[in-house]
Symmetry: C2
Subunit: 286 residues, 2 copies
């Protein structure tokens, strides 16, 4: 078998990949799902917020009559831990082309009490039913080719702490937004990267929910260090992504009063703007 | 009395204005509020979504231990009508500096059944407790002075239909984003305006929730006509606004598949970025 064909044969596919297995929810009763949160998607020992959003998005995709998250708003309440969790969903409204649902991710404390981790509201539709018209004025971000970009494997780990998620992502950061890793942050609130899953699984609407919250925080390029916890994140999925790597561009315009916004755009290999997100996050000023 | 002092004396104040009276909710029981939705905030006979968001925001401000909406996400389910409505709130989490709540706006159909109009999730804090640091790179939009901008009172009504809200707003549109009203839309997804309440009441966090959804849709400048209903809108209030008129800038980058996003920025007279919002809206392509 030629090498290229061999490599293609070993690529994970949508529905049969680690990401799919680690976001799989088991329906225990109508609107109640069990999930074992994987330790594989932690960053500095915290479970990645985008992975958690994908778990909630998957439960809602099962509970609602429409398959795809068009807009999903998550308020992050307490820090999730790897291990057992429950998702409770509620169907808020069912319409012809859109339906709206709510979901909560819950875990248990040492006394067995339920602790809510995240609550989301989302409106779902069918991306494949949308017309093909595009009148966008948005342009894809200019990022050098992947072989001129840098990932965690290209040097000393740029972030302290164990980050299992790094092994599961293909993340190649634009050198233009990598000054922070060299001790020379640009002062601009920008972060850009090529993004994919390390096992070669192509992107789908659920992995876009991961993509919008998987880059290093823009705060690093603003000269800040330390954790930037998300208060709220809303993502819009605008188009089913084409196969191939994604480009993710994140910008922050307003760092003030100990909070900042992160606006993400995700572009697919066909130059379509496939997702947009905005989050409000806290910063600790040094 | 000098004229200036006389004019100042007749200006409405925060807490004692039509906007305050029309968003007033009456607590019937813990977490249950009655409101009579005013017909004064309708646009083309629909109740304005920003006014409704302010009503929900006000109920949550009463229900939660923190006063100010830091981030509020609303999913619009069915069209509200002027008249009686109920707001039901739930406290999701109470923290030291932030608390999170949920609220639903409900009305009744002809058979007396509850119909949910809007559901929101929001995280509240205390704007006055935030540090004064500002490291923003955002710049206020360039809008000509108000006397070089145009409102509904400056010519034939640019939008067909009765719009009571126009009498309650000071809205002066940048002529650079007014081509649509002259039959010559620019093709750029931009809308900019000076914004205030017509009775002179200064802005506060609740009126910012109105400001982010009170301009004509950017779709008009993209050459589209007709209604652009909001699916979901998330607003971040970043700073208590200074007295004086606001500047609102709205941009759309991506019109595709029958949906578009509208990103709003609201600036106060002290050149502070006081609110940001993004909504996902449907468009009907002509």
């Amino acid at each position: 078998m030629p090498e290229a064909a061999s490599a293609a044969a070993t690529r994970a596919t949508i529905g049969d990949s680690e990401f799919d297995r680690d976001t799989a929810v088991t329906r225990r009763a109508p609107g109640v799902y069990d999930i074992d949160l994987s330790a594989g998607w932690t960053i500095i020992n915290a479970v990645n917020g985008g992975y958690l959003l994908a778990v909630l998005g998957r439960a809602l995709g099962d509970a609602l009559p429409h398959p795809d998250p068009f807009t999903i708003s998550a308020h992050y309440l307490t820090a999730s831990q790897p291990g057992p969790a429950v998702v409770r969903t509620e169907t808020v409204r069912t319409g012809r082309s859109l339906s709206t649902g709510q979901a909560s991710l819950l875990q248990y404390d040492d006394e067995g009490n339920e602790v809510e981790r995240i609550r989301v509201l989302a409106s779902y539709g069918d991306l494949d039913a949308l017309p093909d018209d595009v009148r966008t004025s948005a342009k894809p971000p200019a990022i050098p080719p992947p072989d001129q970009c840098f990932g965690p494997e290209d040097g000393p780990a740029p972030v302290d702490g164990s980050s299992a998620i790094a092994d599961r992502l293909m993340l190649k950061l634009d050198p233009g937004t990598l000054g922070w890793a060299l001790g020379q942050p640009s002062g601009r609130g920008e972060m850009r990267a090529w993004f994919g899953l390390a096992d070669g699984r192509d992107a789908d609407p659920l992995s876009l929910l991961l993509a919008v919250d998987a880059l290093p925080p823009t705060a690093f390029e603003l000269g800040l260090k330390g954790w930037v916890p998300t208060v709220e994140l809303t993502a819009h999925v605008r188009c089913r992504p084409a196969p191939g790597p994604l480009r993710v561009s994140i910008t922050t315009r307003n760092l003030a009063g100990g909070f900042l916004e992160e606006d993400a755009e995700v572009w697919d290999s066909a130059d379509r703007l496939v997702a947009q997100s905005r989050q409000l996050a806290r910063v600790r000023l040094g």
